[in-house]
């Protein structure tokens, strides 16, 4: 009796939380996704390739934010700062030191991790609202810091830095937009797989436990402060890598590119994609990139208002983000399937 139940429930890990997609589903979606991704650079105009590249870059940044806010429960409205640091790291290395773009990503990752970790230390003392404020302050401050005369020598001050878009290596028959797309996708796959592994692991569970009940988490032997600071670092790392990729894609960095509006946009992307959802961040990236364009399409003078209305509608329709909606639909389908199966 006991044994039978055990076998039943133990099941395949993909079905772990009730109402999740079945593995067959997932495999199909995954394969389809790969096929679509692989064909994009050969069928679309460069401009669209560029746009999709940007969307994926934003998605990576949002993924970083999601690790922090969604999974670990630390509210941040300041991730534009880490995006900026990543972007500037890449730009300075390429422009000032002639270092290949390949090395900019690990460097940006390291730099941002350190910055994030250090910022995470005082942030430990702050609770949600206060933390939101502190990070928001960071977002406001970063453009000022970037153009300050202290660092102007490296950052190029208000003029920013122009960099050159990398060409495809090994004589691959790709133009720079196509190559950057491929490169971004490769990086994104690594980042997403890493995030997925992390979230589904012992460490990931610790992060969520801290979000849900920090006192209980520490009673379970989780070093709450350390994990929180490290999460801040990892989150900054993700966003910083996105920033470095963004610098390559735009080929230009300037303080005005990284205002708090970017931080707000990343946050919006996080929520509409789905808090604590990894795949939702892709939707978030697309949203951040395309919805302002759609809004503008309706009305120039009222672009902001249209954007706001779209945002409200999206939140009404999917209060738990795109991922939440998908989860709901799938669980409905599963239930219906079960009902009709009976």
């Amino acid at each position: 009796m006991m044994l039978r139940r055990t076998i039943e429930t133990r099941g395949p890990p993909a079905a772990e939380v009730a109402g999740m997609a079945t593995p067959a589903w997932r495999v199909i979606v995954f394969v389809l996704g790969i096929v679509v991704l692989a064909t994009i650079p050969f069928v679309l105009k460069n401009f669209y390739i560029f746009q999709i590249t940007l969307a994926v870059i934003y998605a990576i940044a949002i993924l970083g934010l999601n690790l922090l806010t969604g999974f670990n429960g630390q509210f941040s409205l300041g991730h534009s700062a880490f995006y900026a640091i990543g972007a500037y790291t890449a730009a300075i290395m390429m422009d000032g030191f002639d270092i290949s773009y390949i090395w900019t990503l690990p460097a940006a990752a390291m730099v941002c991790f350190v910055f994030g970790f250090l910022f995470g230390l005082p942030a430990l003392r702050l609770e949600n609202i206060y933390l939101a404020l502190a990070t928001f302050a960071l977002a406001i401050a970063i453009p000022q810091v970037l153009k300050s005369s202290l660092v102007e020598h490296w950052t190029g001050g208000v003029q920013g830095i122009s960099i050159i878009k990398p060409d495809a290596p090994f004589g691959l028959p790709l133009n720079s937009d196509q190559w950057l797309y491929v490169y971004t996708i490769l990086v994104a796959v690594v980042m997403y797989v890493g995030a997925h592994n992390l979230v589904k692991s012992r460490t990931g569970r610790a992060l969520i436990a801290i979000r849900d009940h920090p006192i209980a988490a520490s009673a379970m032997g989780i070093n709450v402060s350390l994990y929180k600071s490290l999460t801040f670092g990892v989150s900054a790392l993700y966003t910083g890598v996105a920033g470095a990729l963004g610098a390559l894609a735009i080929s230009f960095v300037a303080p005005d590119s990284f205002t708090f509006q970017l931080a707000v946009a990343l946050f919006v992307g996080l929520v509409v994609g789905g808090v604590a959802s990894i795949s939702g961040t892709l939707f978030g990236g697309l949203f951040v990139l395309f919805v302002p364009n759609i809004a503008e399409h309706f009305s120039k003078g009222l672009a902001g208002a249209v954007y706001g209305v779209i945002l409200l509608l999206v939140i009404y329709l999917m209060p738990t983000g795109a991922a939440g909606l998908v989860r709901l639909i799938v669980s409905r389908l599963v239930q219906q399937g079960r009902a009709s199966g009976r």
């Binding site: 055990t6 772990e16 009730a18 592994n197 990931g204 436990a209 009940h213 209980a216 070093n223 490290l230």
Partner: protein, 276 residues
């Protein structure tokens, strides 16, 4: 005041060294204050390994406060708590589970958005050593570690008969079941000492009886020493080896269940007439 206290400390320590059966826990003159409120007032007792001690007392007597001292959520203004002969007060809260102290919470402190299985797996956190990097890379040894943590969790889920709800979100479960999840979670790190704060809350008579059996089994089969806070006297009296009664932070009685049950102070402050 300090001189006799020092002497008092010296003696049992010498004695403890002499005897091989040193107490697993040794609570020494622990005092806790919140502003003007004295929550614990020089409470001392010891508990040998694999014994089951019941901690009783009226509401607000300081029972949970004592547990919170074990968890290092509160720091006593004076006194000390020794575990296996070593003070735990120098340890931060997250370094308590790894020396083998597990607990449940009176008012439930589950990870509400997580499934039962995940809650229990978080409980076994101290048994693992994977970190951000190794987990993100899914190194082979972390996969093995995951497997062994999952095995521990499943074993406990079966032990506590939670199999049917293993994948449900804990927040959606009825209260009594949530209490059992807490118990499973507390056991997942294979503790030597288990602190149970009103585990029978929300259970009916049969269930309480079953729980009593279970607690005994945990002590016997899993070799766990248990400190039990409970208001259900039937259970305390039937399973505990020893009972300590607190009132207004002071220890008012200590002894076998039968002794304590007969104690006038305990009856007056705590049991009232409905002795069961």
């Amino acid at each position: 005041m300090s001189a006799p206290a020092a002497v008092a400390i010296e003696v049992p320590r010498a004695a403890a060294r002499a005897m091989t059966a040193a107490p697993l826990i040794d609570v020494r003159d622990v005092c806790v204050r919140f502003g003007g409120i004295v929550a614990l007032d020089c409470v001392s007792f010891t508990l040998p390994e694999r014994e089951l001690l019941g901690l009783i007392g009226p509401n607000g007597a300081g029972k949970t406060t004592l547990f919170n001292c074990f968890s290092r959520l509160y720091t006593p203004v004076s006194g000390d708590i020794l575990f296996e002969g070593q003070s735990i007060l120098s340890r931060p809260p997250h370094r308590i589970a790894d020396i083998g102290i597990g607990r449940t919470f009176q008012n439930l402190a589950l990870f509400r958005t997580m499934s039962v299985l995940d809650n229990v797996r978080v409980g076994s956190h101290p048994l693992g050593r994977s970190d951000f990097l190794s987990n993100a890379l899914k190194l082979p040894w972390t996969v093995r570690e995951e497997k062994s943590l999952a095995d521990i969790a499943w074993e406990l889920i079966d032990f506590l008969d939670l199999g049917e709800v293993a994948h449900r979100r804990v927040a959606d479960l009825p209260f009594g079941m949530q209490k059992r999840v807490e118990l499973a979670r507390a056991l997942a790190a294979r503790p030597k000492l288990l602190l149970l704060d009103e585990p029978a809350g929300g259970l009916n008579h049969t269930e309480i009886h079953g729980l009593g059996e279970l607690i005994r089994r945990i002590r016997d089969e899993r070799r766990v020493t248990i400190l039990l806070v409970e208001h259900h006297m039937s259970m305390v009296m039937s399973i505990c080896d020893k009972v300590v009664a607190l009132d207004f932070g002071k220890k008012i009685a200590e002894g076998t269940p039968a002794e304590v049950q007969r104690n006038e102070d305990v009856i007056l402050a705590y049991l009232g007439t409905t002795k069961k």
